[in-house]
C-alpha cells in the first residue's frame, strides 16, 4: 500500500485492474485505492508479470503492506496483454448467493448494487464529434482530458492531444469497461459521504497539527504589481479561442515553478533531520473539494511546462481531484505547494507547510491599489505573494530572494 500523501496511514483496495498472469509495465494503473481523502489510481513502479494479489478488494490495510507480488519479465518477450474487464470470466448471476465467493465483507454494509450512483462508472464522457475526430486522428481517448461540460472530451481536446510525442497509453484496461456488469463482482465498501468528510477533516487536521508542531515556520510577504503580466495575458488571450484562454493563475504557477528551479532549497523535503532537494519541480496545486476538504496533487515538472500545458494540467487535476480520480504519483510527488485564495477575496495567505515539504507559496486576490513608482502615484493591479518556509531548511534571506525571483518572473510574462 503506497503512501499517497504524508497524511495517509491506511488505504482500502476498491478495485484491481490486473489479475495474476497479467503483464504490466512501469506506470500502468493497477488498482484503485480509497484513502481517507479520495479514490486514487495506483501506478506500478516496476514492470513484470503479476504473480499474486495479496489484498482482496474491500480490505483496508496500513501503508507499507504488500498488495501484490510481481515476477520480473526476463527479456523483451512480447507477452500479449490481456484486455478486458477485470472479471469477465465469472459473470455474476443476479442472485445474492454469489456473494459467498467474495472476500469477507468489511464491517460496514456493502453498497447495494441498485443504489450505486450512476456517477461512479468509468465510461468516458466524449462528445460524438470528439469521438469521431479521435478515430480519424488515431488519438487514444483514455489519455485525453476533457474541458467540456462536466469534463466531457470535446473535439479541441482531442486535437490538443494529437501533437507529436503522444505518450504511449499508460492504461491497458479497456477504455470503456462495462460498469453495470463489473459492479456486482466488486462490492466496494460503503463510505457514506459524511464518513469521507469526517475522515478527510481528521486527516487534514493530523497533518496540519504535525506541520505546526514540527516545522518552525517563518513568513514573508511581497506585494507584486502584476499590471504588465495582466496586459500581456489580455493580448495573448485575444489570439486564442475561448476554451484555450489563459487565466492569471497559470502565470502565477509558472512564475513560482521557474523561481523554484533556481532556488533548490525551497523545492524539496525535510526528512530524517536533513533537507533533500526534490527531483524536479512538481508543484502541489491546492484544490478545494466540493463539499469541503482540500487536496494538493502534483503538477509534474511545472518549471518546464508551457502556460498552455500548465492550464491544461491544472484543469485536468481539478477535474480528477473532484471526481476522486487522482494517481498515486500525483499524491506523493509534490515538492512545493502553491495555494491561491484570491477568488475567496482574501488579501493574503499565511500558509501551513505540507510535510515533508519545506515551503508553501500563497497568493491573495488581485486588487487595484494606489501604487507609487518614481515619485508618481498610479492605480495598479497588485497581488500579495506570501511564503511560508521551514526555517530548518532555509533562512529569511533565501526566502526573500525566492519571492523576489517570483516577482521578477511576473514582470517578464513573455518568459513564462
Amino acid at each position: 500500500m503506497p503512501s499517497l500523501g504524508a497524511d495517509m496511514e491506511a488505504g482500502t483496495v476498491l478495485d484491481w485492474y490486473v489479475k495474476p498472469g497479467d503483464t504490466v509495465k512501469r506506470g500502468d494503473i493497477v488498482a484503485l485505492v480509497d484513502t481517507s481523502k479520495a479514490e486514487i489510481e495506483v501506478e506500478i513502479f516496476d514492470g513484470g508479470v503479476i504473480d499474486e494479489l495479496l489484498v482482496p478488494v474491500g480490505e483496508r490495510v496500513p501503508v507499507g503492506t504488500v498488495l501484490a507480488t510481481l515476477h520480473p519479465v526476463p527479456a523483451e518477450v512480447p507477452v500479449p496483454v490481456p484486455v478486458g474487464p477485470p472479471a469477465p470470466e465469472t459473470p455474476a448471476p443476479p442472485t445474492p448467493a454469489t456473494a459467498v465467493t467474495l472476500p469477507p465483507a468489511p464491517p460496514s454494509a456493502p453498497v447495494p448494487v441498485a443504489a450505486a450512483p450512476a456517477g461512479t462508472n468509468h465510461r468516458l464522457r466524449v462528445s460524438p464529434l470528439a469521438r469521431r475526430a479521435a478515430a480519424q486522428l488515431g488519438v487514444d481517448l483514455s489519455v485525453v482530458s476533457g474541458s467540456g461540460p462536466n469534463g466531457a472530451i470535446t473535439k479541441s481536446d482531442v486535437e490538443r492531444a494529437r501533437p507529436a510525442g503522444q505518450p504511449a497509453p499508460p492504461v491497458e484496461r479497456p477504455a470503456t469497461p462495462a460498469p453495470p456488469v463489473e459492479r456486482p463482482t466488486t462490492p466496494a465498501p460503503a463510505r457514506e459521504p459524511g464518513d469521507r468528510q469526517a475522515a478527510m477533516r481528521e486527516a487534514i487536521g493530523a497533518l496540519m497539527a504535525r506541520s505546526k508542531r514540527e516545522i518552525p515556520h517563518y513568513y514573508l510577504q511581497l506585494e507584486i504589481d502584476i499590471g504588465r503580466a495582466l496586459d500581456w495575458l489580455r493580448d495573448a488571450n485575444l489570439q486564442r479561442p475561448m476554451n484555450e484562454r489563459l487565466l492569471p493563475s497559470a502565470l502565477l504557477l509558472s512564475a513560482v515553478a521557474r523561481a523554484a528551479a533556481e532556488m533548490p532549497e525551497m523545492n524539496g523535503f525535510w526528512t530524517d533531520g536533513a533537507f533533500r532537494p526534490g527531483g524536479g519541480v512538481h508543484l502541489g496545486v491546492a484544490i478545494s473539494l466540493r463539499g469541503g476538504g482540500l487536496i494538493a496533487p502534483a503538477l509534474h515538472d511545472a518549471d518546464k511546462k508551457s502556460l498552455d500545458d500548465i492550464m491544461a494540467g491544472v484543469r485536468d487535476l481539478v477535474q480528477r481531484a473532484r471526481a476522486g480520480r487522482l494517481r498515486s504519483s500525483e499524491m506523493s510527488d509534490p515538492t512545493l505547494t502553491v495555494t491561491n485564495l484570491g477568488e475567496r477575496g482574501v488579501d493574503l495567505v499565511h500558509g501551513v507547510i505540507y510535510p515533508p515539504q519545506v515551503a508553501l507559496v500563497g497568493f491573495g486576490a488581485v486588487r487595484e491599489r494606489p501604487w507609487a513608482i518614481d515619485g508618481m502615484l498610479g492605480v495598479r493591479p497588485v497581488v500579495v505573494a506570501t511564503l511560508a518556509a521551514d526555517h530548518r531548511a532555509s533562512d529569511g534571506h533565501a526566502g526573500g530572494r525566492f519571492l523576489t525571483l517570483i516577482e521578477r518572473r511576473l514582470q517578464k510574462p513573455e518568459t513564462l
Binding site: P128, P149, A152, K155, R245, I287
Partner: protein, 334 residues
C-alpha cells in the same frame, strides 16, 4: 435587390401594408376578426382599413372564435381568400376544433376536392404584462398538426412579405405575430415584397455555436450573440421563420458548421418546438455535435403578471449567454 428608397416603418405598419396590398390586388381577400373594424384591431394592425375598404371586406365578428374561424374555413372552401385575425394564440384554443378537425383535414377528407386557402393571423407571446390568459406561446402545439403551415415573422421584411405567399398557398397558413414586435421600427424598402415561406434564415453568421430562435426570441438570440462576441465567441443566429414544416436542412447545415446549438423558444420546454428541433439535430447530426443541444425556454408556469416575475419566466439573453458559456467550457479559475 430593391432600388426603391428605404422608409422607416414599424412591424405593425408592415403587416397593415401587406394586408392593404393583398386587398387591393385580389377582390377575394377580406379581413375578419374581433374588433378589426371600427376599433382598428386589438393591436392596431387594421387601423384605417375599414375606412378604405368598407365593412364588407373589413368585418367585425362576435366573440366566438369557433364561429368566425369556421366561417373563414367555409369562405376559403367557397373560393374566397380570407384573412382571419384571432386576438391571441390563447384564444385560438376556442377554435382548435375548426383548425384541426376542419382546416387541417378537409383537403384530405374530401379526396382533394377542397382546398383551404385560409390565413389565420394571431398574436403570440408575453412581455407586455397581460398575464396568464393572453401571453402564452402555443406555436409548438399547433406545429404538431399535419396539414398546417406555420409562419413566425420576426423581421420587418417578413412582416411585410409573408402574407402574400401565405394567401397564395392553397392550404391553411397560420401567422404568429409576437406582441413584443409590433413596435419594432426600422427601414424597409418602399417596394419590399413577397418573401419565401419555405426556408429558415441566418440572421448573424458565426462559427462557434448556433442559436436557433423564432419570432419573439430572435431579438433575444441576437442580443445574446452580441454579448458573446465581446468574449470572442462567434454565435450564428438562425431564425426558423417557418415553424411547420421545419427547414431541417438550414438547421443541420448550421450545426455542421458550429457543432453546438442552443434553441431559444418562448414556449414551455416540455413537448416544445425546441424539443422537436433538438431531436432533429440529434437524429440528423449526432456525429457533428461537440456538446449536447441546450434549450432556453420559458419557465413552466402560467405566465406571471408582475413585471419582474414575467421577465424571470421568459428566455433572456443572459440565460442564453450562460448556456453557451457552460457549453463551450469557459475556464473557471479554480
Amino acid at each position: 435587390m430593391s432600388v426603391a428608397p428605404a422608409e422607416t416603418i414599424t412591424y405593425r405598419d408592415a403587416i397593415r401594408e401587406a394586408i392593404r396590398e393583398a386587398m387591393l390586388a385580389d377582390e377575394r381577400v377580406f379581413l375578419m376578426g374581433e374588433d378589426v373594424g371600427a376599433y382598428g384591431g386589438c393591436f392596431g394592425v387594421s387601423r384605417g382599413l375599414l375606412d378604405e375598404f368598407g365593412p364588407e371586406r373589413i368585418r367585425d365578428t362576435p366573440l366566438s372564435e369557433s364561429a368566425f374561424v369556421g366561417a373563414g374555413i367555409g369562405a376559403a372552401m367557397g373560393g374566397m381568400r380570407p384573412i382571419v385575425e384571432v386576438m391571441t394564440v390563447n384564444f385560438c384554443l376556442l377554435a382548435l376544433d375548426q383548425i384541426m378537425n376542419n382546416a387541417a383535414t378537409i383537403t384530405h377528407m374530401s379526396g382533394g376536392q377542397f382546398a383551404i386557402p385560409l390565413v389565420l393571423r394571431m398574436t403570440t407571446g408575453a412581455g407586455r404584462q397581460v398575464a396568464a390568459q393572453h401571453s402564452h406561446s402555443l406555436e409548438g402545439w399547433l406545429a404538431h398538426i399535419p396539414g398546417l403551415k406555420l409562419l413566425a415573422p420576426a423581421t420587418l421584411a417578413d412582416a411585410r412579405g409573408m402574407l402574400a405567399p401565405a394567401l397564395a398557398d392553397p392550404n391553411p397558413v397560420l401567422i404568429f405575430e409576437h406582441g413584443s414586435l409590433y413596435n419594432l421600427e426600422g427601414e424597409l424598402a418602399a417596394d419590399a415584397g413577397a418573401v419565401d415561406i419555405e426556408r429558415a434564415a441566418i440572421r448573424r453568421p458565426g462559427a462557434d455555436v448556433t442559436l436557433i430562435a423564432y419570432g419573439g426570441t430572435l431579438p433575444t438570440a441576437l442580443s445574446a450573440a452580441e454579448e458573446l462576441a465581446t468574449d470572442g465567441v462567434e454565435a450564428e443566429v438562425l431564425d426558423l421563420r417557418v415553424l411547420r414544416p421545419l427547414d431541417d436542412r438550414a438547421i443541420i447545415e448550421s450545426v455542421m458548421r458550429t457543432h453546438r446549438a442552443v434553441v431559444v423558444d418562448e414556449g414551455w420546454r416540455s413537448g416544445s418546438l425546441a424539443a422537436e428541433v433538438s431531436a432533429r439535430i440529434m437524429e440528423q447530426a449526432f456525429y457533428e455535435l461537440d456538446a449536447p443541444v441546450a434549450r432556453v425556454c420559458s419557465a413552466e408556469v402560467p405566465m406571471p403578471y408582475p413585471r419582474h416575475l414575467e421577465q424571470a419566466a421568459l428566455p433572456q439573453p443572459g440565460k442564453v449567454v450562460d448556456e453557451v458559456r457552460r457549453m463551450i467550457g469557459v475556464p473557471s479559475d479554480e
